[in-house]
Symmetry: C2
Subunit: 165 residues, 2 copies
């Protein structure tokens, strides 16, 4: 199972410190995505979608840790119960707003990804496939000082460290 880079994500986030931990916390932050020429024909029809899912490689993730202290918490949690990038397969997911496609450059907003991150895939975001109600959100229910985890809206959300997301 070998991956190939299909493009590159360019963002204002030059380093982990200060990068939002989720696109839901990055409202309005814009960036661009360059799709390599050989994959550009796959972009046809994409512009009709308001949001797209970016699948990318956490190329600056720290080494695998099976328990982590999440940014939103103070206790060690199982890695798979968190969005931390130090995963067995450091694959990141972000749902961003698609503003425009020109040739093979996408302009997007709500971008929480580090500059120069390798892109692996783009999928259209379709609420009937991707948006689910889920009342039980485990340890996040008790994430102190982060009421928005439960509310669905964040007022602040700058990440002092991208160790966890």
């Amino acid at each position: 199972m070998q991956l190939k880079q299909i493009g590159i994500i360019r963002s204002p986030h030059k380093q982990a410190a200060g990068t939002p931990v989720q696109s839901a916390l990055a409202t309005g932050i814009e960036g661009t995505i360059e799709i390599f020429p050989q994959f550009a024909p796959g972009l046809k029809d994409l512009e009709g979608f308001e949001r797209i899912l970016l699948v990318y490689w956490f190329d600056r993730a720290t080494e695998l840790q099976l328990t982590v202290i999440p940014y939103l918490d103070t206790e060690p949690r199982g890695l798979f119960a968190t969005r931390a990038p130090c995963r067995p397969n450091p694959i990141g997911l972000s749902c961003v707003r698609l503003l425009e496609i020109r040739d093979r450059i996408l302009r997007v907003a709500d971008l929480d990804v580090l500059d120069n991150t390798p892109l692996l895939d783009i999928k259209p975001y379709i609420p009937s496939f991707d948006a689910f109600a889920a009342k039980r959100i485990g340890w996040c229910e008790n994430a102190k000082g982060n009421p928005a985890v439960a509310d669905g809206r964040f007022e602040t959300g700058r990440n002092p460290s991208r160790t966890s997301r």
Copy 2:
């Protein structure tokens, strides 16, 4: 960028024909996920989440096609505007309901994945991070005979071919 398998997905879907194209179309269909022993400590705290995102490898995907005719449509569309598995990186995403974890076996529902699919990652599904309203859904808005694409509810959804999802 080399992937490692962290577990295996076991489902009643033995072949592409008849497999639902999305977990939203697989309501109630149960399966199990075995996490390999070395990754089991990462499962701690996961059981508190109602839904989880499975990241997996479409190991039976056909070769890359940059335009496809989606199951929900009759016209060729750009690959990245579809969920077809014949991608440059055949990575699949499913949001399933987590019913129970026993040791390193997860029992899940709403499973749209083929039996014996290699698992790459599990992430907790957190609506405030993952559920977005998106009114514009491109070609899906016109997907004839599939009113539920817009409504968010499917009455039927068996896939005659898993070429597209």
